[in-house]
Amino acid sequence: MNIIILPDEVASQIAAGEVVERPASVVKELIENSIDAGASEINISILEAGKKLIEISDNGEGIERTQLITALARHATSKLRDANDLYKISTLGFRGEALASIASVSRFSITSRTKNSLEGGRVIVEGGTGGKLEDIGTTVGTLIRVEDLFYNVPARLKFLKKDPTEKRQIDAFVTRYAMAYPEIRFRLTQDNKITFQTSGNGDKREILSSLYNPEIAKQMLVVDSGFDQISIKGFISPTNLTRSNRQAITFFVNGRWVQDTALTSALIQAYRTMLMVGRYPMAVIFLEVPPELVDVNIHPAKSEVRFMDQGAIFRGVQGAVKRALLAFTPVPELQNQLRWSSMAETINSEFDQGIKPPPIGTLDDDSAKSVDGPIDKGDQNPLPVEGVPLLRQIGQVGASFIVAEGPDGLYLVDQHAAHERILFEKFMKMQKDKIPSQALLDPITITLSAEESNLLEDNLPVMGKLGFVIESFGPKTFRILSMPSLLIGSDPERALRVVIEDFEEDEKPFHDQIEAKIIARVCKRSAVKAGKILSTDEQKALLLDLEACSSPRTCPHGRPTMIHLSINLLERQFGRKGAR
């Protein structure tokens, strides 16, 4: 076997593969450089999704003319001096790979001037070779042009996604960095059209508006919390604003955008029981952690980080989000412009489709106006923090909903969802003490698949805590000896199978969450069903119990337990207010 040392060119192309995966990663690396250079204005200009041209100019401190060539060498950086610095990195970049990598796979030019010199310099490199310094007149700052990216790596070029996808990626990077650095003016131009820009006035909410849309930005809740030297700030969506995937969850650690599944699931856990299954929150969270407590040097793209005390950070995030949520969880309110006759449909479809208010018939031409502005200033008042107001039972509609009066209008309570929430909290409360369990007259034997039985075997202690006494009864066979007394009236075998399914589905970042999940599932089945006629006393009791809950506004699966029709809304509907 003949072993040779790879020529520099090949080596840098291999290294480039890790850093420069797609046009968006070029944009990311270059923006990070500009930010590290202290720029207050960054302009990004893209042609053909970055395949033709990526041009980034900033007004940062620039690079000395004489150092421009060095800057393009591999492992050349201004951000690090020795290995110790690696443990307290406060700049976005540090590896000294970006420029070299990008230059090796494109036609690359860098123009820069510092404020101390009158003359700028320019270096043009093709595929990593060439590179002659020439003098040129320019403004203070750096301008980098990356043309014909991957022209010499056709394989890479072939594997790029379609243009719109690549463009979206670039948008995502730029908007997110704009979010993290609201004091920097960003301007992104794609194919000669400005697609995104910020004013650099430091207002994060303004950037939120361009990240999502103004309506959503207005509703986002503020997270502001921290402990020790760690600060957790940002914006999260209220429970009625969700997405069907996790894409809208963004984390920044020390100003660096990271994609960390563990952080994401910590955030989602905080929403647990408040969101419907399959819905995810939106969030932008900024974590400030002392540099020595976090390791960013895990992957060349630096999108992963590792914390010294992972658990503490997660708990911190979860706690901060939860606090913000509890304080602001709103009771969903019926939209003003809905017809009364279509209310039932509204409620149904709200339940079916999640949150978006369905475009059902509007009252009249006036509605156009009411769609624009906030529905009513009175309705936008922050609701009483946590809990529900005192409710006076009025009656039951459709054997499914309880009508009640509160201090500020009418409330419709979904009896099933409400009861689910009540059972859930009772069970959780009990779980803190001890869950009474009821022995079975004749133990039920169940046979499971190998995988299921392993799962069950592992979780027998948890099951015991929940009141399921189960013993192993031969290979893959178990006997249920006792079940939680709360579940009397339901089939023990079915209850257990539901629980095992949960073990399978669980992503298991936090083991103790399993219990809550199981309980939520179990409560769903034990709760009073829609369609059951309740006596006046039962309705009153349900409302009282609901008032006693700590998060009464959603069922454990995140459906709303109640809908609020404010006096204001009623007055408007009857034409007593807001003349039509």
């Binding site: 009990m430 001890k434 009474p436 369990s437 009821q438 022995a439 007259l441 339901s490």
Partner: protein, 377 residues
């Protein structure tokens, strides 16, 4: 059809059969009562396809015929009629039933009787015979233990076994078991084993009179049905398919502590404990404290709730065996004690995790097994 009946009889008959009317059915005719002339009497029938009830009342028949009348409307109307003769005549063409009594004259829109599900006509031979009063008592003593959850349909029924002249009824809901044995005055030829829906038996107990009437139980072969026939009332029900748990194996063969207490005092104590055990899980502790030369034995029944408070009741008892502390669902205790008619009852226990058995003193062949509860660790 043209018939005359007494309002009193009609009202009573409707009251009986309307229990089987299906309140929510996609089949509109099931909300109706079949009214039919039959063997010189007027037959009223209702069914929800699981349970069917038929009642015959005396009538003067001028013209034979049949129709089905909406149950609610008919019952409400008859309830307001004077206690006198009611004349009914059906317009076959329009299916309008004219009901005429004294000054009142009403027309009710009916549905053709052709649409009504056919009701079985059993042979009257070979059935088992009971005294109505005895049967009602036996039903009352076991039926409450049956399950109300449809997950295990077998447990929503009552097992009925007849061999020779020995009758056994057993019901269980997965946490408790009630078994009652009795002797029949007349032996049956072939042994019978069937699971009858608890609901059907409850209805039977409700519609059957209090007299010394005889009720005949028939299990027509291959129909999966049971029919109880009395003089003027007949109740039929689908049987439940499946295997009833081997209840004999569930009854503990031995015990280490036997506590004899006054049924009434024990029942009262349980009712009091239930007030506080109601929240959450109905858990009540029974602490069996044997006596000595100085003082008699007692049992302490206690319950507590985080919200309402706690309760303890002491009941004097004659105790053989060791002290034991065991927890039960107090509702199960109360319901079992409620149907025990002897003045004293024995509670047999072994350990906190072993079932408890309640046996009425000096009454053989009647027992309740109740599984204990415990607090998780």
């Amino acid at each position: 059809m043209k018939v005359s009946v007494l309002q009193e009889n009609l009202a009573q008959g409707l009251g009986i059969v309307s229990r089987a009317v299906s309140s929510r059915s996609t089949l509109p005719v099931l909300a109706n009562i079949l009214v039919k002339t039959e063997d010189g009497r007027l037959r009223l029938s209702a069914t929800n396809l699981e349970i069917g009830i038929t009642c015959w009342i005396g009538a003067k028949i001028e013209e034979e015929g049949s129709t089905t009348v909406p149950s609610r409307t008919f019952s409400d109307l008859v309830g307001t009629l004077p206690n006198a003769q009611v004349d009914m005549s059906l317009n076959t063409q329009s299916q309008n039933l004219n009901v005429n009594s004294g000054p009142s004259n009403t027309d009710i829109k009916c549905i053709d009787s052709q649409e009504f599900p056919p009701m079985p006509k059993p042979e009257l031979d070979g059935g088992a015979e009971f005294n109505v009063k005895d049967l009602k008592e036996i039903i009352r003593q076991v039926v409450f233990s049956a399950s109300t959850d449809d997950a295990r349909p077998v447990l929503t029924g009552v097992l009925l076994v007849i061999e020779g002249n020995k009758l056994i009824m057993a019901a269980a809901d997965g946490f408790r078991l009630s078994v009652r044995e009795a002797e029949l005055s007349q032996a049956v030829e072939a042994p019978i084993r069937a699971i009858i829906p608890a609901r059907a038996l409850m209805e039977l107990a409700r519609v059957a009179g209090d007299g010394d009437e005889i009720v005949t139980m028939l299990l027509p072969e291959g129909r999966g049905q049971v029919i109880f026939r009395m003089k003027n009332i007949e109740l039929s029900s689908q049987l439940i398919e499946g295997n009833f748990p081997e209840y004999q194996q569930i009854i503990p063969g031995s015990h280490t502590t036997r506590t004899v207490v006054s049924t009434n005092a024990f029942l009262k104590a349980c009712k009091q404990a239930e007030i506080f055990a109601r929240e959450g899980s109905h858990i009540a502790r029974v602490n069996v404290i044997p006596g000595n030369e100085m003082q008699p034995g007692t049992i302490e029944i206690s319950a507590q709730s985080e919200e309402t408070g706690s309760s303890e009741v002491f009941v004097d008892a004659t105790i053989e065996g060791d002290a034991v502390l065991i927890a039960f669902n107090v509702r199960y205790l109360r319901e079992a004690l409620d149907v025990i008619s002897t003045p004293n009852v024995a509670l047999e226990t072994t350990a906190a995790a072993a079932p408890g058995v309640l046996r009425p003193l000096s009454e053989e062949g009647f027992l309740h097994v109740i599984m204990p509860m415990h607090l998780g660790n």
